[in-house]
């Protein structure tokens, strides 16, 4: 069960980072045909997400291997944050499927009722995950070990956006 929980979390984090890459590119290029631009942006997001995930994994591994933190305790405490993430991802991916497959009215509904508001709510959802990790952890140390990687995920978007800031 433990590896499955962390594997699911890693997958969700990568998907989230891919969308962060898309959002980073969206609205910056006025061309009509932007498929390749968006594909490249999503790849960039996934790469950034993989880097963040590697850092998070190293952070957690250092506590498990170096400080004797129990992996089972981490996984147990992570069940609630993982459930929040799964619920959020299910909602967003369903809306995205409706947007991708639907005609104009369905797309508008998916955008206005789900994709827009819940993209806006994403930072709050991640903070909620971190808080849930802290609350469910058997001790503060385990909670912090769990919460920090959640919060670092918030930095993927701004990190990707820094190259636009540099360009002015």
């Amino acid at each position: 069960m433990t590896p499955a929980v962390f594997a699911a979390a890693a997958l969700l984090a990568l998907i989230d980072a891919g969308f962060a890459g898309f959002r980073d590119a969206a609205g910056r290029d006025g061309r009509v045909f932007k498929d390749e631009l968006y594909r490249a942006a999503i790849r960039r997001g996934v790469r950034a997400g993989a880097f963040v995930m590697a850092l998070a994994s190293a952070w957690m591994a250092s506590w498990v291997l170096g400080a004797g933190l129990r992996l089972e305790a981490l996984a147990e405490a992570f069940a609630l944050p993982a459930a929040i993430a799964l619920g959020y991802a299910a909602l967003m991916l369903s809306a995205l499927a409706a947007w991708a497959l639907g005609e104009a009215d369905v797309r508008s509904l998916a955008s206005l009722a789900v994709l827009g508001p819940f993209t806006l709510a994403r930072p709050a959802v991640i903070v909620l995950m971190a808080a849930a990790g802290l609350a469910r952890a058997p001790d503060l140390r385990t909670g912090v070990v769990l919460a920090l990687p959640c919060l670092v995920q918030l930095g993927v978007g701004p990190w990707l956006g820094r190259r636009w800031s540099r360009r002015g």
Partner: protein, 328 residues
């Protein structure tokens, strides 16, 4: 600042924008910053300097402290707003706004009305080629996307007009880059040498205020039809607009104007009353009567078609004809 004199033939978004600065303020009327920071003479298209203090004063008078601070922080020389900075902001703003059209499939929505309209023009043997002109086209996304995906026919010419030279220059560069068969002009859409058969716009009507609205429609009398989309007038629109712009847009100006524009949108009755001056058969399209419909169709349209073309157009619309509504 000089008050421009607008003849009945001078209309369009930028024309309306040009008078925005000099018109007396209605009490607490909310203003869009994009209407205030550039100014073109609607007759000559010559750019006029915009005094920063005047824009700040107008925004403050409208109760918009944030907007006043935003404009107050823009670079200026001798009290005149820096044109290059304002142009760059507006190009970025229009590029971001393109997302609205992309996400709501606005081109598809327009194409589904344009195609029956073209069927009516052809079947009534109105001589072509049919010139479809996007009024206040900004960076020309609508025209460029119609050129890319519209499949409207070889007898159709797509044109976009805007008085903002910087936006049109950007639009042309984008069209050239993608080899799109459309023309973009820094011009008044209503005074083109070759007049339009069909006028289009998206998100322009709410910029045209007061008496200018009737003149905006009067300027289209020589055409065969018009299709003008704008945000649904609803209590939900400003809220939805705020959420959408916060989630999707980065430019502070876009976030500000997006909400203000949703609050300034005209009612269906106002639009149909103003459109009636053309003498066309005018209908509201996708006018929402509940909050649910606003979510499904965030934009509505006012459509006007010459009376002799209307029955063919309505027939060619098929099931979409049920979404037309007569003036009440």
């Amino acid at each position: 600042m000089n008050t421009p004199t607008l003849g009945p033939e001078v209309h369009g978004r930028q024309a309306a924008l040009a008078v925005e600065l000099s018109r007396p303020m209605r009490p607490r009327e909310r203003l869009e910053i994009s209407d205030l920071i550039v100014d073109y003479d609607p007759r000559t298209l010559v750019r006029r300097p915009v005094r920063q203090a005047e824009v700040v004063r107008r925004l403050e008078a409208s109760g918009d402290a944030w907007g006043a601070r935003f404009v107050g922080a823009l670079p200026a020389k001798d009290g005149v707003l820096d044109e290059a900075t304002c142009d760059a902001i507006l190009v970025r703003a229009h590029t971001e706004l393109q997302r609205l059209s992309e996400e709501f499939l606005q081109v598809d929505r327009i194409r589904r009305i344009l195609s029956p309209l073209l069927t009516a023009l052809r079947s009534r043997q109105v001589p072509g080629p049919y010139r479809i002109v996007d009024v206040g086209c900004g960076t020309g996304y609508l025209v460029r996307a119609l050129a890319a995906f519209g499949r409207l026919g070889r007898d159709v010419k797509l044109l976009g007009c805007d008085m903002n030279v910087a936006l049109v220059r950007h639009a042309r560069a984008l069209a050239d880059e993608e080899h799109l068969d459309c023309e973009l002009f820094a011009a008044n859409a209503f005074t083109l040498a070759e007049p339009a058969h069909v006028f289009l716009s998206t998100g322009v009507l709410h910029h045209v205020r007061g008496d200018e609205l009737a003149r905006f429609f009067e300027g289209q009398r020589a055409a065969q039809a018009f299709i003008h989309f704008d945000t649904q007038p609803s209590w939900l629109s400003p809220i939805g607009s705020w959420i959408f712009h916060q989630a999707r847009m980065r430019e502070p100006l876009v976030r500000h104007d997006g909400v203000v524009s949703a609050a300034r949108t005209h009612s269906r009755a106002t639009l149909l009353r103003a459109a009636a001056s053309t003498g066309f058969t005018c209908r509201s399209f996708d006018g929402a009567s509940s909050w649910w419909e606003v979510l499904v169709r965030p934009l509505h349209a006012v459509i006007g078609v010459r009376a002799e073309l209307f029955p063919t157009f309505e027939g060619a619309l098929g099931p979409l004809a049920a979404r037309l509504a007569e003036p009440s």
